[in-house]
């Protein structure tokens, strides 16, 4: 099959056995690859209502169709599992080399199932697959683990591994590869539950493409478009955090102080423009990327001297910056490094800490509860110790490791009112009270609090993107169809493994020629969006099967009940009634019923009615 690895590899770590099956034309046609294929395999392999941290769950690695191919930003592969944080379909993508390596080893998906008795690494060396005992690596951080495995296997292997947080099943643990993280949904915890410390892949084969003669032209074209693209140099120098200033000052939508405020007086200090010159040491790219935005930081002196981290990305500037009132970029780098080495999501960890700070200031948690630690927005450096306790599940850290929803249920005392999450997942750096397309995107996202399924922050903040212009971020009119179209587009990126930071270079006809060159398929824009629509519906089917309903498409009380208190968006909120109208609008645009369940007609139109749970198929 042109453009594909060709096979799906399943490794059962209970028995150390493995099997390969052809990917098949049908799967390639329906899902393209990447996140779509991952979602399809999850629905296929995980029984309904399975315990996310039990043997029934699986971890699926799916390279995007673009991984290793001449797209401008082709680096993203996807990890998929049932999420221990939300109970929904969980997926997270990352720029590690493991995606391209899997394709060159001949695999469009690697599924890890079962659970091992003692720590193992899954090692895939082309078609030579083994499950190795690695007890000596248990307890090591992500960097030490990758270093040890590279020393043993050689640098030619891509290593995706978990840290201590994954081992201890922190519900927002990450998977790390090449210092990039599959951050959201807690898939690192699922790996930990299986005692899989690492997945190592080396692929030395050729990926056959449909039109090899067109590859040089594609390279030249990418190069030309990139050199004409004015912001690439800025992205390279300053990374992804450059608009933190604008989000805070101009729009007033940077969540601050656990979402009590929406502008941050330290925004200037944590903006990359303030620290890049002093702390950045080099540019870093994902595998094959021509538009690098990664930065390696090094703190040269002061209390955090020696800190070194790939970052700090925009989301982390919020979660370990404004969210916890930290305006010290060097502390920020340190916290980012700790999360990376422990292997946990900076967004979720930051929001859990912000909630703890607020609960403490409100007198709901005592110094005794917190093991003597001085916790509060006045002392952001307490996060260093809190992160350590979370990763090791020590003291109150054990409660925070469950995520903010469960932590608030445990503590009670009204702390649920300021536990900021959607479906149990802590949200990213956009105060959706002032960004209403994204508010809908948050509510309906298949993996809970998340900006990347709809990507609607782009239209809300800039007022235009792709086919949309003159978007008023404070209006909730007509958001259903907009959110649908954006989700379909972004789901297609995830199937291709094309990075959303290059979205403007690919909207959206730009995707068509590379798809043709790789696979020989002549697709139109509508065809590509149809794949995205199919994927979004499939994710919905998974969540419906797991018992989620319209009630779960909700926003946190802080968003629905408390208007923004400060700044340019002051006074705005998304009331429950407003959200209900947006949901009706969205479900109608999607062809779902009023409860948010895909109708049989919709599934038939997309050719996936046979995948629906039985009671839906019966209509």
């Amino acid at each position: 099959m042109r453009g594909y690895g060709g096979s799906i590899l399943t490794v059962d770590v209970s028995t150390s056995e493995h099997r390969a099956e052809p990917t098949g034309e049908e799967r390639a046609r329906l899902w393209l690859g990447g996140a779509g294929l991952g979602a399809a395999l999850l629905l296929e392999r995980v029984p309904a209502r399975a315990d996310p941290l039990g043997r029934g769950n699986v971890v699926v690695l799916t390279p995007g169709l673009a991984n290793g191919a001449p797209f401008i930003a082709p680096g993203k592969c996807t990890f998929t599992a049932k999420s221990p944080l939300t109970g929904t379909i969980g997926d997270a993508n990352m720029g590690g080399r493991i995606g391209a390596m899997a394709r060159h080893a001949g695999f469009d998906a690697i599924v890890v199932e079962g659970s091992a008795l003692s720590p193992v690494a899954v090692v895939v060396d082309d078609d030579d697959v083994s499950v190795r005992q690695v007890s000596e690596l248990w307890g090591k951080g992500t960097r030490a683990t990758a270093e040890a495995l590279h020393a043993e296997l050689g640098w030619g292997f891509a290593v995706a591994c978990i840290g201590i947080a994954g081992e201890r099943m922190v519900r927002y643990a990450t998977i790390d590869c090449d210092d990039r993280q599959a951050g959201r949904s807690g898939i690192g915890a699922v790996m930990g539950s299986k005692r899989v410390k690492a997945i190592c892949v080396r692929g030395t084969g050729r990926v056959e493409v449909a039109d090899p003669g067109a590859l040089p032209g594609l390279m030249r074209d990418n190069d030309r478009r990139l050199r004409e693209y004015k912001s690439w140099d800025n992205d390279r120098r300053y990374g992804t955090g450059t608009f933190v200033d604008m989000v805070s000052k101009e729009k007033g939508t940077l969540p601050t102080r656990n979402w009590q405020l929406s502008t941050f007086d330290g925004a200037d200090a944590v903006s990359p423009y303030a620290w890049a010159a002093r702390l950045s040491t080099k540019s870093k790219a994902c595998w094959g990327c021509m538009k690098p935005c990664g930065r390696v930081l090094r703190v040269p002196d002061g209390p955090y001297a020696g800190t070194q981290v790939d970052g700090v990305e925009y989301e982390t500037i919020y979660s370990l910056g404004s969210e916890i009132c930290n305006s010290d970029p060097e502390l920020l780098a340190r916290l980012n490094e700790l999360c990376d080495v422990y292997g946990m999501d900076t967004i979720s960890a930051g929001v859990c800490i912000g909630w703890t700070m607020e609960a403490t200031e409100r007198g709901l948690l005592s110094r005794f509860d917190l093991g003597g630690l001085d916790v509060g927005f006045h002392n952001p450096s307490c996060a260093i110790e809190l992160l350590r306790r979370i990763a090791h599940r020590e003291g109150f850290g054990d409660i925070l490791a469950e995520g903010v929803r469960r932590a608030a249920e445990e503590v009670g005392l009204g702390s649920e009112a300021f536990a900021v999450h959607v479906k149990g997942q802590e949200p990213p750096a956009y105060d959706v009270r002032g960004l209403k397309t994204l508010a809908l995107g948050f509510a309906v996202s298949s993996r809970g609090g998340d900006h990347l399924k709809s990507g609607a922050y782009v239209v809300d903040l800039l007022g235009k993107f792709w086919r949309f212009e003159g978007v008023d971020r404070l209006s909730s009119e007509g958001r259903g169809a907009m959110c649908r179209d954006l989700e379909d587009l972004f789901a297609a990126y995830d199937c291709l493994g094309v990075c959303k930071f290059a979205r403007r270079l690919y909207v959206s006809e730009g995707l068509l020629e590379p798809i043709r060159v790789l696979t020989g398929r002549e697709m139109t824009e509508a065809d590509v969006l149809r794949v995205g629509e199919r994927v979004t519906n499939l994710r919905r089917l998974f969540n419906v099967r797991e018992g989620l309903t319209r009630e779960d498409d909700a926003l946190p009380p802080r968003v629905t009940d408390e208007p923004i208190a400060d700044g340019p968006s002051k006074g705005n909120r998304v009331s429950k009634e407003e959200l209900a109208r947006m949901l009706d609008d969205y479900y109608a645009a999607r062809g779902w019923d009023r409860e948010g369940v895909p109708t049989r007609e919709t599934l038939e139109r997309l050719g996936i009615d046979h995948l629906a749970p039985l009671e839906l198929q019966m209509g």
């Binding site: 391209a100 060159h104 640098w155 493409v209 590859l215 390279m219 390696v296």
Partner: protein, 132 residues
């Protein structure tokens, strides 16, 4: 990728004439043939059939028709930047005839095509923390 595409290999990084290695978070290495500037042309000496030579324009290239697939050249190379085809014959960087694709498509200009200076190698040694 540029290397593969320029040499008509399709998508096949194992056949790239250069190799990337990450030594530390802040140190990535691009390892590629120095065409005699950083070695003593060990590959030329190791080749028993005289298939490897350094041309007038400075590029060390392999005459693939003459190669007898003995496999002596890569172990001799201090950088191990020679690879072998499925049939065992050797291949290596040929500077793309004077305009290397890797340098052309490196938008950060981290790869340059120029005469190597003594200082370049000294710098690499410093970064790696070896020798003087």
């Amino acid at each position: 990728m540029a290397c593969n595409v320029a040499h008509g290999d399709g998508l096949h990084p194992a056949r790239s004439r250069l190799r990337l290695e990450k030594r530390r978070l802040d140190l990535d290495l691009v390892i590629v043939c120095t065409h005699g500037a950083g070695c003593a042309l060990e590959c030329v000496a190791a080749c028993q059939v005289g298939a490897i030579s350094r041309g007038a324009e400075g590029a060390v290239t392999i005459d693939r028709a003459r190669c007898n697939a003995c496999g002596s050249c890569n172990p001799a190379c201090p950088y191990h930047v020679i690879w072998y085809d499925d049939d065992g014959r050797a291949g290596k960087c040929d500077l793309c005839g004077g305009d290397p694709a890797c340098a052309r498509y490196c938008i950060l200009q981290a790869i340059e095509h120029r005469e190597a200076a003594r200082e370049d190698f000294a710098q690499v040694r410093r970064e790696l923390g070896v020798g003087r």
